[in-house]
């Protein structure tokens, strides 16, 4: 049901966006393979793997469980479907947590080097935030240099990656009641690397053979990301590159300029992209571009790098995950500069059909067919210029006859950090709490996560968000979901007209969109901070608040880690794509029902955005009722996974 059928392969059914549709048609005409072609070639995908009942953790295997019952019900080691599904899910969470956390560590290293004055191109941009964090951790700052305070903060956060602490520093940001839940369950995250390593250990053959125990550690592993690696990445990025504040920008392939050198920044870490944006303003490089007939150098974002740059610098975004191949088919992209995560190996194949240079920069992420420029923060500014020069040098190779920029850009507003939201509210969550308590805003939902070619591109994000804001639910977006909503025109202050009367009134009073851009996928940590602040303000636990999360088009391991920490933090999460767990009805039952009595939140799976919207609204109204707030009856309906869970 989630796969693209043969008759569904028309470009109009693969995406809701005009720019993507036009570029997919170009790809078809020119015989260039895209992600949708490869998904089609993979059909039908492995049923055992889709259900999570295949295991290749050891060499007695590989093994799989026959879900139809006639074949083997245990692997060679004796693991049944429950253990195999739980082990696989645990490793997926560890991979996702590791990705975010390694990104966080990279920023931490550059932060320390910058504090010591060892880098070029970086500075402490938000000293006030540095001092706030220092105060939070009890690091003295009176009469001390910024460099010393930053170094102490870096040392403190490095400890969070290790094994010497009882719990991560940022755990203390969670409401007291939530911390009690974690302590009772024994899932307080102790060390970022430790939880990930322990998950790999537990899922080795013959270690943790209790699927419940594995999944509980899965929650702890996720928490080490959300309240650890990701939060460190977000907070230190704010200190080094500026805490985001609301700003207008543009989105879709129309942000490319036919008369300029176009450079797309693709990946995740702002360490690289920030120096590139600076280098693109270098007078010498601008002069070089003009000497080749270009009128300027246009830096645009893709994926979460795009979100990082837009939130802080207003840089336009060309598109989300599924646009990374299509952006080259405009024929107008001189360079795609990549760091890591979500960069398809296929980009170098597509680039061969055009003049586009793929420039890889992270020594841990190399792409055969790309030009590798090893990024070294000690020479950040110089390397930034070197990369932009490569892009400018590619401009004369552009074939003007092949340039087709398919659409005009759409305006969007970004930059809603927690600080910015509280600022808009007058420095306290009270106005938001009052609006929710009074019922003008029913609750808030974080629509997050990736793009997945199994879902028509952006349909899940845009349709779910639209239905929620129509019913006075405030929506917070990050990652690919933010780009999708921006392209749909749902992220402007004027978009308040699309919202129900209550939400519309609040948005118009504050001059904000009904859909707030909170950043990249590591910035889901901002959602935790906001939820924690609201709960602490009210003296309740997070799971009592009328909140929910949704990942309508998720694809990546990182999204599974996010789901784990969001649910472990007490927020119900609705997934739009089936995770590989259905081979174990016990695991499904635990995640969809059993967790309710454990963390106060569960997962649900609902591919239909209309049904997901009803499910979420029903959940929000139930939370309102429990808090003694005015509530409404929402139409009854059973989501797909709960129906399956009952039948098992």
């Amino acid at each position: 049901m989630s796969t693209v059928s043969r008759d569904g392969h028309h470009s109009g059914r693969l995406t809701i966006n005009e720019d993507a549709r036009r570029m997919i048609d170009v790809a078809r005409e020119e015989g260039i393979e895209t992600v949708w072609d490869r998904l089609q070639a993979q059909q039908p995908q492995c049923g055992y793997c889709s259900l999570g009942v295949s295991c290749r953790n050891c060499s007695m295997g590989p093994c799989r469980i026959d879900p139809f019952g006639a074949g083997p019900q245990k692997g060679v080691c004796g693991a049944d479907a429950d253990v195999i599904v739980a082990r696989n899910l645990g490793r997926t969470i560890a991979a996702g947590s590791s990705s975010h956390s390694d990104h966080g560590r990279d920023i931490l290293e550059v932060f320390l080097a910058t504090a010591k004055g060892e880098t070029t191109g970086y500075r402490i941009a938000d000293e006030a935030k540095l001092l706030r964090l220092a105060a939070e951790f009890g690091i003295p700052s009176d009469g001390r240099s910024v460099s010393d305070v930053a170094s102490d903060l870096a040392d403190r956060l490095f400890e969070d990656f290790g094994s010497r602490k009882e719990h991560l520093s940022f755990v203390e940001r969670a409401p007291a009641k939530r911390r009690e839940v974690w302590e009772k369950l024994g899932i307080v995250p102790r060390g970022i690397d430790r939880e990930n390593v322990e998950m790999l250990h537990r899922t080795h053959m013959g270690v943790d053979n209790d699927y419940v125990n594995i999944l509980l550690h899965g929650l702890r592993t996720g928490l080490s990301d959300g309240w650890g690696g990701s939060m460190i990445a977000t907070e230190l990025s704010d200190i080094m590159f500026g805490t985001p504040s609301p700003r207008m920008s543009e989105v879709n392939l129309g942000v490319l300029r036919s008369d300029q050198v176009n450079v797309a920044m693709h990946g995740h870490n702002p360490l690289l992209s920030d120096v590139i944006v600076s280098a693109a303003q270098d007078p010498e490089l601008l002069e070089l571009a003009r000497s080749y007939g270009a009128t300027g150098i246009n830096v645009v974002g893709l994926c979460c790098t795009g979100n990082e740059l837009q939130m802080r610098r207003g840089v336009p975004i060309a598109g989300n995950h599924l646009m990374q191949e299509l952006v080259m088919m405009t024929g107008a992209l001189e360079a795609m500069v990549v760091d890591y995560q979500c960069i398809m190996p296929s980009v170098t194949d597509v680039a061969k059909c055009y003049h586009t240079q793929i420039i890889s920069t992270a020594d841990k992420a190399k792409f055969p067919g790309a030009t590798h420029v090893s990024f070294d923060p000690h020479r950040g500014a110089e390397i930034g210029k070197q990369i932009v020069r490569m892009a400018v040098e590619a401009y004369p190779n552009r074939n003007p006859d092949r340039v087709r920029i398919p659409v005009k850009p759409v305006q969007m507003m970004a930059g809603f950090s927690v600080e910015a939201i509280l600022g808009a509210l007058g420095g306290t969550p009270k106005p938001l709490v009052d609006a929710i308590a009074g019922g003008a805003i029913r609750g808030a939902v974080a629509v997050v996560g990736c793009s997945n070619p199994k879902v028509p591109q952006d349909y899940g994000h845009v349709e779910l968000t639209r239905q929620l804001i129509e019913h006075d639910v405030l929506v917070i977006v990050t990652g690919c979901a933010a780009v999708a909503n921006g392209k749909a025109g749902q992220m402007l202050p004027e978009s308040a007209r699309m919202a129900g009367p209550g939400l519309r009134g609040v948005c118009e009073a504050l001059g904000i969109p009904p859909v707030l851009h909170m950043g990249s996928c590591v910035d889901n940590s901002r959602v935790l901070v906001l939820a924690g602040a609201l709960a602490s303000y009210l003296g309740v636990d997070i799971d009592q608040l009328p909140l929910a999360g949704a990942a309508p088009e998720w694809y990546s391991e990182k999204a599974v880690a996010i789901g784990a920490y969001v649910v472990a933090s007490g927020v119900k999460t609705v997934l739009g794509v089936q995770p590989p767990i259905f081979g174990s009805p016990h695991v499904v039952d635990l995640l969809a029902n059993g967790l309710e009595g454990v963390t106060g939140a569960t997962f649900a799976i609902e591919p239909d955005p209309a049904k997901a919207s009803l499910l979420i609204r029903r959940h929000i109204e139930a939370k309102r009722k429990a808090l003694g707030l005015p509530y409404e009856e929402v139409e009854e309906m059973a989501p797909a996974v709960e129906a399956v869970g009952t039948g098992a």
């Binding site: 049901m1 492995c46 049923g47 889709s50 259900l51 799989r64 074949g71 259905f582 399956v644």
Partner: protein, 246 residues
């Protein structure tokens, strides 16, 4: 009676799922796809929860040699021994598609069809379309007749990523195998008389390099033993003549 059935076969070579057992990697995707295709939900996330559970009609059994296997399914014989012996007339042939079908409600579970089946591809399980959810009836490949009527490939062949199960006109499929064998035979005969490339050349070069480095850096004594270490040492020549095919 059989004349009528045979006349259909004589007019045209049947379209069929052909098996290339040497391609089979034992992934069992065909079994999975077959069970889902024969479920009520036709949904891989829900099919295995149905009662009675849907069953595969293609069976991948392992060979004696590790990592060999054979995806075995009804060959839709004509005349079909199972049809000839069925006492209740539950087995019939669809003339248009050339497939042998079993009507579950007429099956009495005597297993005569399984006794005479030359390929042992008839098993007994309760079916959703059977007389009741508890009674086992004869279950075998129906050629995905619904899919074929829609001009779609049978589920097992669609699922197979390695062309161990391929669907098409029988003579065409057999011919493509013949082409492969022809190329293999001619390749082995090496009619061009070009010397075959030394498959271990990379290893030899690497070994020579190691010896050169070792000789230069730490082990001067080895210098004499291993010749000049310039990539054409005696060790390589010996190996080549030992391992060569001529």
């Amino acid at each position: 009676m059989t004349m009528g059935l045979r006349s259909e076969r004589q007019r045209r070579a049947p379209r069929s799922v052909f098996v290339n057992p040497e391609h089979c990697i034992g992934c069992r995707q065909c079994e999975f796809a077959c069970a889902v295709e024969h479920s009520r939900s036709n949904d891989q996330f829900a099919a295995f929860l149905e009662d009675p559970v849907p069953r595969t009609r293609v069976h991948v059994e392992a060979g004696d040699v590790p990592s060999t296997s054979f995806p075995n399914r009804c060959r839709h014989c004509d005349p079909a021994p199972c049809q000839q012996v069925c006492p209740t007339g539950a087995v019939s042939r669809d003339d248009e598609m050339g497939v042998v079908l079993i009507e579950a409600t007429r099956c009495i579970g005597c297993a005569m069809c399984a006794v005479v089946c030359p390929f042992d591809v008839i098993s007994f399980y309760p079916l959703a379309e059977g007389p009741d959810p508890q009674t086992a009836v004869a279950v075998k490949c129906d050629g995905c007749i619904d899919r074929q009527r829609r001009h779609e490939v049978p589920a097992c062949a669609e699922a197979c990523k390695v062309e161990a199960l391929v669907y098409g006109e029988l003579n065409e499929l057999i011919r493509s195998g013949r082409v492969r064998e022809t190329r293999a035979v001619l390749g082995a005969a090496d009619l061009t008389h070009q010397p075959a490339a030394d498959p271990l050349a990379g290893w030899h070069a690497w070994g020579d390099e190691i010896l050169t480095v070792a000789a230069a850096a730490h082990m001067p004594g080895h210098n004499h033993h291993n010749g000049h270490g310039n990539g054409h040492g005696p060790a390589k020549s010996t190996n080549k003549s030992d391992g060569g095919s001529r």
